[in-house]
Amino acid sequence: MSSAALTKDEMAARVARDIPYGAYVNLGIGQPTLVADHLDADAGVVLHTENGMLNMGRAAVGDEVDPDLTNAGKQPVTELPGSSYFDSAESFAMMRGGHLDVCVLGAFQVSAGGDIANWHTGAPDAIPAVGGAMDLAIGAKQVFVMMTLFAKDGSPKLVPSCTYPLTGVGCVARVYTEVAVFDLTPDGVVVLDTFGTTYDELAERLDVPLTQG
Protein backbone atom coordinates (compact mmCIF):
# COMPACT_ATOMS: atom_id res chain seq x y z
CA MET A 1 0.00 0.00 0.00
CA SER A 2 1.26 3.43 -1.01
CA SER A 3 0.39 6.45 1.05
CA ALA A 4 -1.44 8.37 -1.68
CA ALA A 5 -3.64 7.75 -4.68
CA LEU A 6 -1.72 7.60 -7.96
CA THR A 7 -1.56 10.40 -10.47
CA LYS A 8 -2.38 9.56 -14.06
CA ASP A 9 1.30 9.34 -14.84
CA GLU A 10 1.92 7.03 -11.89
CA MET A 11 -0.95 4.83 -13.06
CA ALA A 12 0.57 4.71 -16.52
CA ALA A 13 3.94 3.76 -15.01
CA ARG A 14 2.28 1.01 -12.98
CA VAL A 15 0.67 -0.44 -16.14
CA ALA A 16 3.96 -0.18 -18.02
CA ARG A 17 5.71 -2.18 -15.27
CA ASP A 18 3.35 -5.11 -15.86
CA ILE A 19 3.89 -5.34 -19.62
CA PRO A 20 6.22 -8.25 -20.32
CA TYR A 21 9.49 -7.91 -22.21
CA GLY A 22 9.02 -8.03 -25.97
CA ALA A 23 5.22 -7.78 -25.83
CA TYR A 24 3.12 -6.54 -28.75
CA VAL A 25 0.84 -3.90 -27.28
CA ASN A 26 -2.01 -1.67 -28.37
CA LEU A 27 -2.68 1.41 -26.26
CA GLY A 28 -6.21 2.77 -26.58
CA ILE A 29 -7.01 6.39 -27.25
CA GLY A 30 -6.87 8.77 -24.25
CA GLN A 31 -5.30 7.90 -20.93
CA PRO A 32 -3.77 4.58 -22.03
CA THR A 33 -1.60 6.52 -24.48
CA LEU A 34 0.39 7.76 -21.47
CA VAL A 35 1.71 4.24 -20.89
CA ALA A 36 4.03 4.69 -23.87
CA ASP A 37 6.00 7.35 -22.00
CA HIS A 38 6.87 4.79 -19.32
CA LEU A 39 8.06 1.97 -21.55
CA ASP A 40 11.83 1.85 -21.63
CA ALA A 41 13.41 1.44 -25.04
CA ASP A 42 15.12 -1.70 -23.76
CA ALA A 43 11.80 -3.28 -22.73
CA GLY A 44 11.47 -4.41 -26.33
CA VAL A 45 7.77 -3.53 -26.37
CA VAL A 46 6.33 -3.10 -29.86
CA LEU A 47 3.39 -0.73 -30.16
CA HIS A 48 0.58 -1.50 -32.58
CA THR A 49 -1.70 1.20 -33.91
CA GLU A 50 -5.04 0.10 -35.37
CA ASN A 51 -4.68 2.33 -38.42
CA GLY A 52 -1.99 0.00 -39.74
CA MET A 53 1.43 0.01 -38.15
CA LEU A 54 3.69 -1.95 -35.81
CA ASN A 55 6.55 -0.43 -33.84
CA MET A 56 5.12 3.02 -33.75
CA GLY A 57 7.37 5.64 -32.17
CA ARG A 58 6.66 8.67 -30.01
CA ALA A 59 4.62 11.73 -30.99
CA ALA A 60 6.11 13.66 -33.90
CA VAL A 61 7.34 17.18 -33.26
CA GLY A 62 8.34 20.00 -35.59
CA ASP A 63 9.74 18.77 -38.88
CA GLU A 64 8.91 15.17 -38.02
CA VAL A 65 5.19 15.81 -38.53
CA ASP A 66 3.98 13.86 -41.58
CA PRO A 67 0.26 13.81 -42.40
CA ASP A 68 0.70 10.25 -43.74
CA LEU A 69 1.92 8.99 -40.36
CA THR A 70 -0.59 9.21 -37.54
CA ASN A 71 -1.80 7.14 -34.62
CA ALA A 72 -5.29 5.88 -33.80
CA GLY A 73 -6.06 9.27 -32.27
CA LYS A 74 -5.07 10.88 -35.60
CA GLN A 75 -2.08 12.59 -33.98
CA PRO A 76 1.22 12.70 -35.88
CA VAL A 77 3.70 10.08 -34.69
CA THR A 78 7.10 8.69 -35.66
CA GLU A 79 8.32 5.27 -36.75
CA LEU A 80 10.97 3.17 -35.05
CA PRO A 81 13.50 0.90 -36.81
CA GLY A 82 11.81 -2.44 -37.49
CA SER A 83 8.36 -0.98 -38.03
CA SER A 84 5.93 -2.22 -40.67
CA TYR A 85 2.84 -0.84 -42.40
CA PHE A 86 -0.25 -2.76 -43.44
CA ASP A 87 -3.84 -2.05 -44.35
CA SER A 88 -6.81 -1.83 -41.97
CA ALA A 89 -8.14 -5.30 -42.73
CA GLU A 90 -4.74 -6.79 -41.88
CA SER A 91 -4.38 -4.57 -38.82
CA PHE A 92 -7.67 -5.79 -37.39
CA ALA A 93 -7.04 -9.38 -38.47
CA MET A 94 -3.94 -9.09 -36.29
CA MET A 95 -6.05 -8.02 -33.31
CA ARG A 96 -9.02 -10.27 -33.86
CA GLY A 97 -6.77 -13.25 -34.47
CA GLY A 98 -5.37 -12.84 -30.95
CA HIS A 99 -1.83 -11.87 -31.92
CA LEU A 100 -1.48 -8.86 -29.62
CA ASP A 101 -0.15 -9.71 -26.18
CA VAL A 102 -1.70 -6.81 -24.33
CA CYS A 103 -4.09 -4.03 -25.00
CA VAL A 104 -4.79 -1.21 -22.58
CA LEU A 105 -8.19 0.43 -22.73
CA GLY A 106 -10.04 3.15 -20.91
CA ALA A 107 -13.54 2.33 -19.61
CA PHE A 108 -16.77 3.76 -18.23
CA GLN A 109 -17.40 0.52 -16.35
CA VAL A 110 -15.90 -2.92 -15.91
CA SER A 111 -17.83 -5.80 -14.37
CA ALA A 112 -16.41 -8.34 -11.95
CA GLY A 113 -16.83 -10.91 -14.71
CA GLY A 114 -14.62 -8.94 -17.09
CA ASP A 115 -17.28 -7.24 -19.23
CA ILE A 116 -16.25 -3.79 -20.39
CA ALA A 117 -18.32 -0.76 -21.35
CA ASN A 118 -16.29 2.01 -22.94
CA TRP A 119 -17.88 3.13 -26.19
CA HIS A 120 -21.23 4.67 -25.42
CA THR A 121 -22.88 6.23 -22.40
CA GLY A 122 -26.29 5.27 -23.74
CA ALA A 123 -27.41 8.90 -23.44
CA PRO A 124 -30.13 9.45 -26.05
CA ASP A 125 -28.52 12.55 -27.58
CA ALA A 126 -24.98 11.12 -27.71
CA ILE A 127 -23.52 10.40 -31.12
CA PRO A 128 -22.37 6.79 -30.92
CA ALA A 129 -18.85 5.96 -32.05
CA VAL A 130 -17.11 2.65 -31.53
CA GLY A 131 -13.96 2.68 -33.67
CA GLY A 132 -11.74 -0.28 -32.87
CA ALA A 133 -12.85 -0.63 -29.23
CA MET A 134 -14.88 -3.80 -29.69
CA ASP A 135 -12.12 -5.44 -31.73
CA LEU A 136 -9.49 -4.53 -29.15
CA ALA A 137 -11.66 -5.74 -26.28
CA ILE A 138 -11.81 -9.26 -27.72
CA GLY A 139 -8.58 -9.26 -29.67
CA ALA A 140 -5.65 -9.25 -27.27
CA LYS A 141 -4.34 -12.13 -25.18
CA GLN A 142 -4.66 -9.84 -22.13
CA VAL A 143 -6.88 -6.80 -21.86
CA PHE A 144 -5.90 -4.25 -19.22
CA VAL A 145 -8.24 -1.43 -18.28
CA MET A 146 -6.99 1.87 -16.94
CA MET A 147 -9.63 4.08 -15.32
CA THR A 148 -10.53 6.01 -12.20
CA LEU A 149 -12.27 3.69 -9.77
CA PHE A 150 -15.10 6.11 -9.08
CA ALA A 151 -17.22 8.25 -11.37
CA LYS A 152 -17.63 11.98 -10.71
CA ASP A 153 -20.77 11.24 -8.72
CA GLY A 154 -18.81 8.85 -6.51
CA SER A 155 -20.35 5.68 -7.86
CA PRO A 156 -17.94 2.79 -8.44
CA LYS A 157 -16.94 1.91 -12.01
CA LEU A 158 -15.98 -1.64 -11.07
CA VAL A 159 -19.45 -3.11 -10.82
CA PRO A 160 -21.31 -6.40 -10.47
CA SER A 161 -22.80 -5.87 -13.91
CA CYS A 162 -22.34 -3.02 -16.39
CA THR A 163 -25.25 -0.63 -16.85
CA TYR A 164 -23.72 1.12 -19.85
CA PRO A 165 -23.88 -0.56 -23.29
CA LEU A 166 -21.21 -3.27 -23.50
CA THR A 167 -18.06 -3.19 -25.61
CA GLY A 168 -17.04 -6.79 -24.93
CA VAL A 169 -18.02 -9.69 -22.74
CA GLY A 170 -15.76 -11.38 -20.18
CA CYS A 171 -12.58 -10.08 -21.73
CA VAL A 172 -10.85 -7.86 -19.13
CA ALA A 173 -7.97 -9.43 -17.22
CA ARG A 174 -6.87 -6.57 -15.02
CA VAL A 175 -8.05 -3.13 -13.93
CA TYR A 176 -5.65 -0.34 -13.00
CA THR A 177 -7.09 2.57 -11.01
CA GLU A 178 -5.70 5.47 -9.04
CA VAL A 179 -6.41 3.65 -5.75
CA ALA A 180 -5.97 -0.05 -6.56
CA VAL A 181 -5.05 -2.71 -9.08
CA PHE A 182 -7.52 -5.57 -9.52
CA ASP A 183 -7.10 -8.96 -11.13
CA LEU A 184 -10.35 -10.31 -12.57
CA THR A 185 -10.12 -14.07 -12.18
CA PRO A 186 -12.61 -16.88 -12.68
CA ASP A 187 -12.71 -17.08 -8.87
CA GLY A 188 -13.49 -13.42 -8.38
CA VAL A 189 -11.86 -10.03 -8.06
CA VAL A 190 -8.43 -10.00 -6.43
CA VAL A 191 -6.96 -6.77 -5.06
CA LEU A 192 -3.29 -6.78 -6.05
CA ASP A 193 -2.24 -3.39 -4.77
CA THR A 194 -3.73 -0.32 -3.08
CA PHE A 195 -2.66 3.33 -3.12
CA GLY A 196 -3.84 5.79 -0.47
CA THR A 197 -6.60 3.46 0.62
CA THR A 198 -7.00 0.09 2.30
CA TYR A 199 -8.45 -3.23 1.28
CA ASP A 200 -11.20 -2.78 3.85
CA GLU A 201 -12.13 0.67 2.57
CA LEU A 202 -12.36 -0.72 -0.93
CA ALA A 203 -14.42 -3.68 0.18
CA GLU A 204 -16.87 -1.29 1.74
CA ARG A 205 -17.18 1.09 -1.20
CA LEU A 206 -17.46 -1.54 -3.97
CA ASP A 207 -20.47 -3.74 -4.65
CA VAL A 208 -18.35 -6.64 -5.82
CA PRO A 209 -16.83 -9.30 -3.55
CA LEU A 210 -13.07 -8.84 -3.24
CA THR A 211 -10.20 -11.11 -2.29
CA GLN A 212 -6.93 -9.86 -0.92
CA GLY A 213 -4.10 -10.73 -3.34
Binding site: I127, A129, V130, G168, V169
Partner: protein
Amino acid sequence: MRICESAAEAVEGIEDGSTVLIGGFGMAGMPVELIDALIEQGATDLTVVSNNAGNGDTGLAALLAKGRVRKMVCSFPRQHDSWVFDGLYREGRIELELVPQGNLGERMRAAGAGIGAFFSPTGVGTPLAEGKETREIDGRTYVLELPIKGDVALVGAHRADRMGNVVYRKTARNFGPVMATAATTTIVQVREVVEIGDLDPEQVVTPSIYVDRVVAV
Protein backbone atom coordinates in the same frame (compact mmCIF):
# COMPACT_ATOMS: atom_id res chain seq x y z
CA MET B 1 -7.87 0.92 -66.61
CA ARG B 2 -7.86 4.56 -67.56
CA ILE B 3 -5.45 7.30 -66.59
CA CYS B 4 -7.65 10.35 -66.16
CA GLU B 5 -6.61 13.91 -66.92
CA SER B 6 -8.58 15.36 -64.03
CA ALA B 7 -10.44 14.41 -60.89
CA ALA B 8 -13.63 15.51 -62.70
CA GLU B 9 -12.99 12.91 -65.41
CA ALA B 10 -12.19 10.30 -62.76
CA VAL B 11 -15.59 10.59 -61.05
CA GLU B 12 -17.66 10.69 -64.25
CA GLY B 13 -20.74 8.52 -64.22
CA ILE B 14 -21.15 8.02 -60.48
CA GLU B 15 -24.89 7.64 -60.14
CA ASP B 16 -27.41 8.93 -57.63
CA GLY B 17 -28.09 6.32 -54.98
CA SER B 18 -24.63 4.70 -55.27
CA THR B 19 -22.74 3.15 -52.42
CA VAL B 20 -19.38 4.93 -52.31
CA LEU B 21 -16.46 3.58 -50.28
CA ILE B 22 -14.18 6.44 -49.25
CA GLY B 23 -10.68 5.72 -47.97
CA GLY B 24 -8.86 7.46 -45.18
CA PHE B 25 -8.47 7.35 -41.43
CA GLY B 26 -9.18 10.92 -40.46
CA MET B 27 -7.41 12.92 -43.17
CA ALA B 28 -4.59 10.36 -43.76
CA GLY B 29 -5.41 8.68 -47.05
CA MET B 30 -8.56 10.66 -47.62
CA PRO B 31 -9.06 11.31 -51.37
CA VAL B 32 -9.95 14.97 -50.93
CA GLU B 33 -9.66 15.95 -54.61
CA LEU B 34 -11.89 13.06 -55.71
CA ILE B 35 -14.48 14.02 -53.11
CA ASP B 36 -14.37 17.64 -54.26
CA ALA B 37 -14.90 16.44 -57.82
CA LEU B 38 -17.80 14.25 -56.68
CA ILE B 39 -19.41 17.29 -55.04
CA GLU B 40 -19.03 19.16 -58.32
CA GLN B 41 -20.35 16.16 -60.29
CA GLY B 42 -23.54 16.25 -58.31
CA ALA B 43 -24.40 12.62 -57.46
CA THR B 44 -26.73 12.52 -54.49
CA ASP B 45 -28.69 10.14 -52.24
CA LEU B 46 -25.39 8.37 -51.62
CA THR B 47 -24.50 5.74 -49.05
CA VAL B 48 -20.95 6.47 -47.94
CA VAL B 49 -18.78 3.85 -46.25
CA SER B 50 -15.75 5.34 -44.54
CA ASN B 51 -14.06 4.91 -41.19
CA ASN B 52 -14.97 8.39 -39.98
CA ALA B 53 -17.71 10.81 -40.91
CA GLY B 54 -15.64 13.76 -42.00
CA ASN B 55 -13.26 16.23 -40.38
CA GLY B 56 -13.60 20.01 -40.37
CA ASP B 57 -15.27 21.43 -43.48
CA THR B 58 -13.33 19.76 -46.30
CA GLY B 59 -13.26 16.35 -47.96
CA LEU B 60 -15.99 14.01 -46.75
CA ALA B 61 -17.33 16.70 -44.40
CA ALA B 62 -17.94 18.98 -47.40
CA LEU B 63 -19.85 16.19 -49.21
CA LEU B 64 -22.02 15.70 -46.13
CA ALA B 65 -22.56 19.45 -45.78
CA LYS B 66 -23.99 19.52 -49.31
CA GLY B 67 -26.69 17.06 -48.27
CA ARG B 68 -25.58 14.42 -50.78
CA VAL B 69 -25.31 11.57 -48.31
CA ARG B 70 -28.40 9.66 -47.21
CA LYS B 71 -26.55 7.20 -45.01
CA MET B 72 -23.12 6.88 -43.40
CA VAL B 73 -21.66 3.45 -42.65
CA CYS B 74 -18.68 4.04 -40.37
CA SER B 75 -16.99 3.08 -37.12
CA PHE B 76 -16.18 6.43 -35.57
CA PRO B 77 -18.27 9.43 -36.59
CA ARG B 78 -17.74 11.42 -33.38
CA GLN B 79 -14.51 13.42 -33.43
CA HIS B 80 -13.51 16.82 -32.10
CA ASP B 81 -13.95 18.27 -35.60
CA SER B 82 -16.94 16.27 -36.88
CA TRP B 83 -19.39 19.16 -36.47
CA VAL B 84 -20.90 18.72 -39.92
CA PHE B 85 -21.92 15.12 -39.31
CA ASP B 86 -22.91 15.88 -35.71
CA GLY B 87 -25.33 18.56 -36.85
CA LEU B 88 -26.92 16.43 -39.57
CA TYR B 89 -27.27 13.49 -37.22
CA ARG B 90 -28.88 15.49 -34.43
CA GLU B 91 -31.31 17.00 -36.92
CA GLY B 92 -32.20 13.50 -38.14
CA ARG B 93 -31.02 14.36 -41.66
CA ILE B 94 -28.60 11.46 -42.03
CA GLU B 95 -28.87 7.76 -41.29
CA LEU B 96 -26.00 6.06 -39.43
CA GLU B 97 -24.96 2.41 -39.49
CA LEU B 98 -22.29 2.08 -36.84
CA VAL B 99 -19.90 -0.82 -37.49
CA PRO B 100 -16.94 -1.86 -35.33
CA GLN B 101 -13.82 -0.93 -37.28
CA GLY B 102 -12.62 -4.51 -37.66
CA ASN B 103 -15.98 -5.64 -38.96
CA LEU B 104 -15.99 -2.69 -41.37
CA GLY B 105 -12.67 -3.75 -42.89
CA GLU B 106 -13.46 -7.45 -42.85
CA ARG B 107 -16.90 -6.96 -44.41
CA MET B 108 -15.33 -5.08 -47.31
CA ARG B 109 -12.61 -7.70 -47.61
CA ALA B 110 -15.36 -10.35 -47.78
CA ALA B 111 -17.02 -8.44 -50.61
CA GLY B 112 -13.74 -8.27 -52.50
CA ALA B 113 -12.82 -11.89 -51.84
CA GLY B 114 -16.17 -13.49 -52.75
CA ILE B 115 -17.02 -14.55 -49.19
CA GLY B 116 -20.79 -14.76 -48.70
CA ALA B 117 -20.74 -14.07 -44.96
CA PHE B 118 -18.48 -14.75 -42.00
CA PHE B 119 -18.67 -15.38 -38.30
CA SER B 120 -16.92 -12.50 -36.53
CA PRO B 121 -15.59 -12.52 -32.97
CA THR B 122 -16.28 -8.79 -32.55
CA GLY B 123 -19.39 -7.26 -31.05
CA VAL B 124 -20.74 -10.44 -29.45
CA GLY B 125 -23.06 -9.56 -26.57
CA THR B 126 -23.12 -5.85 -27.44
CA PRO B 127 -25.88 -3.63 -28.83
CA LEU B 128 -24.15 -3.66 -32.23
CA ALA B 129 -24.83 -7.39 -32.57
CA GLU B 130 -28.49 -7.15 -31.62
CA GLY B 131 -30.74 -9.01 -34.03
CA LYS B 132 -27.80 -10.69 -35.73
CA GLU B 133 -27.33 -14.44 -36.01
CA THR B 134 -24.79 -15.84 -33.55
CA ARG B 135 -23.16 -19.23 -33.39
CA GLU B 136 -20.85 -21.01 -31.00
CA ILE B 137 -17.91 -22.55 -32.82
CA ASP B 138 -15.20 -24.43 -31.00
CA GLY B 139 -16.30 -22.98 -27.65
CA ARG B 140 -16.46 -19.33 -28.69
CA THR B 141 -19.45 -17.24 -29.76
CA TYR B 142 -19.40 -15.38 -33.08
CA VAL B 143 -21.75 -12.98 -34.92
CA LEU B 144 -22.61 -13.44 -38.58
CA GLU B 145 -21.57 -10.47 -40.67
CA LEU B 146 -22.36 -9.78 -44.33
CA PRO B 147 -20.14 -8.25 -47.02
CA ILE B 148 -20.18 -4.52 -47.77
CA LYS B 149 -19.83 -4.00 -51.51
CA GLY B 150 -19.39 -0.62 -53.12
CA ASP B 151 -20.52 0.63 -56.48
CA VAL B 152 -17.54 2.94 -56.37
CA ALA B 153 -14.41 3.24 -54.24
CA LEU B 154 -12.55 6.53 -53.93
CA VAL B 155 -9.03 5.84 -52.70
CA GLY B 156 -6.20 8.19 -51.81
CA ALA B 157 -2.79 6.64 -52.47
CA HIS B 158 0.80 7.65 -53.09
CA ARG B 159 1.88 6.42 -56.53
CA ALA B 160 0.45 4.38 -59.38
CA ASP B 161 1.94 3.09 -62.59
CA ARG B 162 0.15 3.42 -65.93
CA MET B 163 -1.29 -0.10 -65.58
CA GLY B 164 -2.96 0.79 -62.29
CA ASN B 165 -0.61 -0.83 -59.78
CA VAL B 166 -0.73 1.23 -56.60
CA VAL B 167 1.51 1.91 -53.61
CA TYR B 168 0.61 3.81 -50.47
CA ARG B 169 2.65 5.71 -47.91
CA LYS B 170 2.86 4.91 -44.18
CA THR B 171 -0.44 4.85 -42.25
CA ALA B 172 -2.24 6.58 -45.12
CA ARG B 173 -2.58 3.05 -46.52
CA ASN B 174 -5.38 2.14 -44.04
CA PHE B 175 -8.66 1.33 -45.83
CA GLY B 176 -7.46 1.97 -49.39
CA PRO B 177 -6.33 -1.55 -50.33
CA VAL B 178 -9.45 -3.29 -49.02
CA MET B 179 -11.84 -0.76 -50.51
CA ALA B 180 -10.09 -1.13 -53.87
CA THR B 181 -11.09 -4.81 -53.87
CA ALA B 182 -14.68 -4.25 -52.76
CA ALA B 183 -16.08 -1.88 -55.38
CA THR B 184 -17.33 -2.35 -58.91
CA THR B 185 -15.41 0.76 -59.99
CA THR B 186 -12.25 1.70 -58.12
CA ILE B 187 -10.94 5.21 -58.59
CA VAL B 188 -7.54 6.09 -57.15
CA GLN B 189 -5.98 9.49 -56.72
CA VAL B 190 -2.21 9.55 -56.42
CA ARG B 191 0.50 12.14 -56.09
CA GLU B 192 2.36 10.76 -59.06
CA VAL B 193 1.75 8.43 -61.99
CA VAL B 194 4.89 6.57 -63.01
CA GLU B 195 5.76 4.45 -66.03
CA ILE B 196 5.02 0.74 -66.22
CA GLY B 197 8.00 -1.03 -64.71
CA ASP B 198 8.87 1.81 -62.32
CA LEU B 199 7.21 0.10 -59.33
CA ASP B 200 8.94 -2.89 -57.79
CA PRO B 201 6.54 -5.86 -58.29
CA GLU B 202 7.30 -7.03 -54.74
CA GLN B 203 6.11 -3.68 -53.34
CA VAL B 204 2.81 -3.29 -55.15
CA VAL B 205 0.08 -3.15 -52.51
CA THR B 206 -2.99 -2.86 -54.73
CA PRO B 207 -2.43 -4.87 -57.92
CA SER B 208 -3.74 -3.33 -61.15
CA ILE B 209 -6.61 -5.82 -61.46
CA TYR B 210 -8.51 -3.92 -58.79
CA VAL B 211 -8.09 -0.47 -60.28
CA ASP B 212 -10.31 1.12 -62.91
CA ARG B 213 -9.26 4.78 -63.00
CA VAL B 214 -6.22 6.68 -61.77
CA VAL B 215 -5.69 10.40 -61.55
CA ALA B 216 -2.67 12.37 -60.37
CA VAL B 217 -3.66 15.33 -58.20
